[in-house]
């Protein structure tokens, strides 16, 4: 009778431990950061409340990645969603927060509905909610059911992860929470959805149709590109970071989707390799996105604005935060020798080796996937040149910057910790890959002992050789060596610099073309910076611009008004019609609710009757 009760409460396999690790490396510095961040910003009651919520939030995420039972998973999942909702609306004074919270809670529950449906179907076959029981029964599940469950899971977890077009809540909710919470939400919470996909689709369901991987790859590509293009257009620093999270989820899913495709194509070793790439990017994104959100929070606290067009020149007022933001930007732009470079390179290599060992059209498809990943990388670099350049470099663009001060020690130590990790994860590659290989192999149930990973701390040589399909060539990359060479070559540059005499260094104002003083109004703005991209991607962004000359007389133009914005395509063409439809049908449904008690009694009677017939029939 009570067979739905859990027999297996927890599951601590390498995958769970890996995600636990990710949760802690971001939550810990964020918590330390919040010591300084919350002070003076909120009342003491609110500070206590925020700590309380933070603890539940982190614990619920811990539960999500460690429970071994679907029912408990749902409970943890819902707790996580609800607590994060309260954190999104934490700044109750802002009207924006309430709205962002509403969008978030609706979207996240739509996602949960899909999950519940998927879990019900699983239960119908397994008669148990335990992971192990479900895993066993999934081996004999009919293909059609399996496909349906996969699609439901993808929609459910996709909403949480922010896969386009289900990403709509992410750029509203993430920036609205206090910064240390944004950091945890973007760094970790959306990763729990990736955990869900890996745990339920790869581990429990088992991949055996190629189209699953292809579907995820296509969705991931769209997610990457849409995320980064919107990030480039954004002028709110935290929303920019949120869109960039959408992009990075896409990159992670490229690794995961490729792993699924290769697994279905019976190339287990390569599948393990690409899952390693995906997981590596996952932990990297947790590190640098957590870092960047913390830095954005410092900027916001110091200046009181998140609009990058009003910032500038902060590198002189906040030198430490600037260094941390620079490290984060370099990591996210995949520059060597930091961590983002390693995982993006691994993902590209996974695509290359996948293409090498597959045939015909798949080769071209994987090649184009890799090219699109490269495009994403290029656009992300542009995006973060803009973000760092507009916020920290040049002249201050408004009075907001005048009173800015460096963040206190507690905030800086949180950021320092994450910057340090960004460097460590770029250098200690061999060691980390070895650990990730264990995680990936555990999930896919592949024996990797025959896979010769000759990893030293210095040179990374994952030999993919002797896969099921043929002999591949080993690939090499040694980031410590690369860092060393880069430093040495910098030194060569320095020697060249010093070799020829010693010319004088003069500090002088910028060349102003013979006009008088140039001020910050002559500087390039973020909107101007992203203009080439706005025009090149105008087919998608549908930019709107209006110029207006305000004349004093026919000859004299007093001022000039310029307005430009891009069309939020998904909101306008998908969500707004959808909301309108819901409202319309609600209006229609109101007719059957006139308030008469007799009618309601009749409804109850009819329902009972139907239920009795239903019970009898089935």
């Amino acid at each position: 009778m009570l067979d739905f009760l859990p027999k297996q409460l927890f599951l601590f396999d390498p995958l769970s431990l890996f995600f636990l690790f990710v949760i802690f490396i971001v939550s810990l510095p964020s918590a330390i950061y919040s010591l300084g961040y919350l002070k003076k910003e909120y009342s003491s009651f609110k500070i206590i409340l925020s700590w309380f919520l933070l603890v539940i939030f982190v614990l619920s995420m811990v539960a999500v990645v460690t429970v071994g039972n679907v029912l408990l998973f749902l409970v943890a999942w819902e707790t996580m969603s609800l607590v994060s909702y309260f954190l999104v609306v934490f700044d109750t004074t802002h009207e924006k927060s309430i709205r962002a919270g509403a969008i978030y809670i609706i979207m996240t529950h739509i996602g949960t509905a899909f999950l519940v449906a998927a879990f019900m179907i699983m239960y119908k076959y397994a008669h148990s909610f335990d992971f192990i029981a479900i895993k066993n029964v999934c081996l004999v599940m009919p293909v059609l059911t399996k496909n349906i469950v996969f699609l439901l899971l993808l929609a459910g977890f996709g909403t949480k992860a922010g896969i386009v077009p289900l990403h709509i809540w992410l750029p509203y909710a993430h920036p609205q929470a206090p910064s240390h919470i944004s950091s945890i939400m973007s760094g970790v919470m959306i990763k729990t959805a990736i955990y869900g996909i890996i745990r339920f689709v790869i581990f429990l369901l088992g991949v055996n149709s190629t189209w699953w991987g292809v579907l995820i790859l296509i969705l991931a590509l769209i997610t990457c590109l849409v995320g980064v293009i919107y990030a480039l257009m954004e002028r709110d620093i935290k929303r920019l970071l949120a869109y960039s999270s959408v992009e990075n989820i896409g990159i992670i899913l490229l690794g995961v989707g490729l792993a699924m495709l290769l697994m279905a194509m019976k190339m287990p070793y390569l599948a393990v390799f690409s899952l390693i790439a995906g997981l590596y990017h996952l932990v990297n994104h947790a590190i640098f996105k957590g870092l960047l959100f913390l830095c954005a929070g410092s900027v916001y606290k110091a200046t009181g604005t998140r609009d990058i067009e009003k910032l500038g020149g902060l590198i002189k007022k906040m030198p430490q935060s600037a260094v941390y933001f620079l490290i984060g930007s370099m990591a996210i732009s995949a520059l060597p020798p930091l961590n983002g470079f390693v995982s993006e390179w691994l993902t590209l290599q996974a695509f290359f080796h996948g293409a090498l060992n597959s045939t015909g059209g798949t080769k071209l498809f994987l090649g184009i996937c890799a090219a699109m990943l490269a495009l994403t990388g290029g656009l992300a670099a542009a995006c973060f040149v803009k973000a760092f350049g507009m916020v920290f470099l040049g002249l201050p663009r408004s009075h907001y910057v005048q009173s800015a001060k460096e963040a206190p020690f507690s905030m800086n130590s949180g950021m320092f910790f994450l910057s340090f990790l960004a460097v460590v994860f770029g250098i200690a590659v061999g060691f980390i890959i070895k650990l990730l290989a264990k995680v990936a192999a555990g999930v896919m149930n592949i024996d990797i002992s025959s896979m010769s990973f000759s990893l030293t701390n210095l040179i990374l040589t994952p030999r993919i050789g002797l896969t099921a399909v043929g002999v591949g060539k080993s690939i090499y990359l040694s980031t410590p060596m690369l860092a060393l060479v880069l430093a040495a070559m910098g030194l060569v540059g320095f020697v060249l610099y010093k070799l020829f005499g010693k010319g004088k260094l003069i500090i002088y104002k910028i060349w102003d073309c013979g006009y008088y003083k140039l001020d910050s109004r002559n500087e390039y703005t973020g909107t101007a910076f992203s203009k080439p991209f706005r025009i090149a991607f105008s087919f998608f962004l549908l930019p709107y611009r209006k110029t207006q000359k305000i004349r004093e007389s026919f000859y004299h133009i007093k001022s000039f008004a310029y307005e430009t914005h891009t069309t939020p395509v998904f909101k306008k063409y998908i969500y707004e019609p959808l909301v309108a439809l819901v409202l319309k049908s609600a209006k229609f449904m109101r007719r059957i609710q006139p308030g008469s008690i007799h009618l309601y009694l009749a409804y109850i009677f009819c329902t009972l009757l139907l239920l009795i017939i239903f019970m009898d029939k089935f």
């Binding site: 020149g313 590198i315 995949a334 060597p336 390179w345 590209l348 290599q349 290359f352 293409a355 080769k363 090649g367 184009i368 890799a370 990943l373 495009l375 990388g377 290029g378 656009l379 670099a381 542009a382 040149v385 803009k386 350049g389 470099l393 040049g394 040179i459 060539k473 690939i475 090499y476 990359l477 040694s478 060596m481 690369l482 060479v485 880069l486 070559m489 910098g490 060569v492 540059g493 060249l496 610099y497 070799l499 020829f500 005499g501 010319g503 004088k504 260094l505 003069i506 500090i507 002088y508 104002k509 910028i510 060349w511 140039l518 500087e523 390039y524 910076f529 992203s530 080439p532 090149a536």
Partner: protein, 306 residues
């Protein structure tokens, strides 16, 4: 031994790179029936800049000051990874074609930041355009690398550094790579090195606020970057065998061919610069789209095995 090789290769690139730029300029002028500057003009320029003092903007921070070193460091690092001497490089195990794209990106990222650092609007303009062009170059370049590497089974440059059969795929890939190089080395029709007109300049606008020794480093990095790309294209389209017999005539002809193939590329670059007009910035997107399609064609050819 390894250290000597490293030093040799460094000196080779630092010493010869300005010569190639001078050669292109000289050839361009010859095609235009002008006398033109001396082939050694880039050396004179560098000497002059190195011995001069520099002016730094008041607005600039430490980013502006470290950027020349980072730019030259990323370029020289790639220079060490490229096969030049006896078709080997001291760091051959890391000569990954994909990694090279990222290493170049490091220098570009900082140059763009330095351009924004000065607070000059020219810098912002240059940074914006450079990041725009480079982000469109990357997918095309990636696809080209894929098509080339797919024939040899690895993205390491050394797998195709020996003698190999030239296929249709590698010719198409080399053409695509050539177009990429035009964009990467800021040449006509994508950019124009000769002008400082604010409407057209891209790379020059980023380096506009630099002067003296810092400018010398950045210019030298540009020369070296160009030389690296020339050597890579040469190796793909005109593969050369490792010198087997050590007799004098053999060495002579081998050396002649070794240099001639670089010269062929230099002539082509100069011809393109003379014959083609500079494109508008937004036409560059179409141009690079075309390169992307070429890359896709090269990949298809590689799949078909031709």
């Amino acid at each position: 031994m390894k250290i000597i090789l490293i030093l040799l290769q460094l000196i080779f690139f630092i010493v010869l790179a300005p010569f190639l730029s001078g050669l292109v300029a000289k050839l361009k002028n010859s095609f235009r029936m002008r006398r033109g500057q001396s082939v050694f003009q880039p050396y004179y320029n560098l000497m002059k800049l190195f011995s001069k003092g520099e002016v730094v903007s008041q607005t600039a921070s430490w980013i502006f000051k470290v950027t020349p070193f980072i730019v030259i460091s990323s370029t020289l690092t790639v220079a060490l990874l490229v096969p030049v001497f006896i078709l080997s490089s001291p760091l051959y195990c890391m000569s990954d074609f994909l990694a090279i794209i990222f290493i170049f990106a490091l220098g570009r990222f900082f140059l763009a930041l330095a351009a924004l650092d000065t607070g000059s609007s020219f810098g912002g303009m240059g940074a914006s355009r450079e990041m725009f062009i480079s982000s469109l170059v990357e997918p095309a370049l990636c696809l080209v690398v894929f098509s080339i590497s797919m024939q040899f089974g690895s993205t390491n440059i050394f797998v195709f550094s020996g003698m190999h059969a030239v296929s249709v795929s590698s010719i198409v890939a080399a053409i695509a790579l050539f177009l990429v190089v035009i964009a990467e080395t800021s040449r006509i029709p994508v950019d124009n090195q000769e002008t400082h007109l604010e409407l057209t300049m891209v790379h020059e606008a980023m380096a506009l606020e630099y002067s003296g020794r810092s400018l010398a480093l950045i210019e030298m990095a540009a020369h070296i970057k160009q030389m690296i790309w020339f050597f890579l294209i040469a190796q793909i389209i005109f593969p050369i065998a490792v010198l087997s017999s050590i007799n004098l005539t053999g060495l002579f002809f081998w050396g002649l061919w070794y240099l001639a193939r670089i010269f062929i590329i230099v002539i082509t670059v100069a011809l393109v610069e003379v014959l083609v007009a500079k494109m508008r910035l937004f036409r560059v997107a179409d141009f690079l789209g075309f390169v992307f399609v070429l890359g896709a064609i090269a990949t298809v050819c590689a799949i078909l095995g031709v």
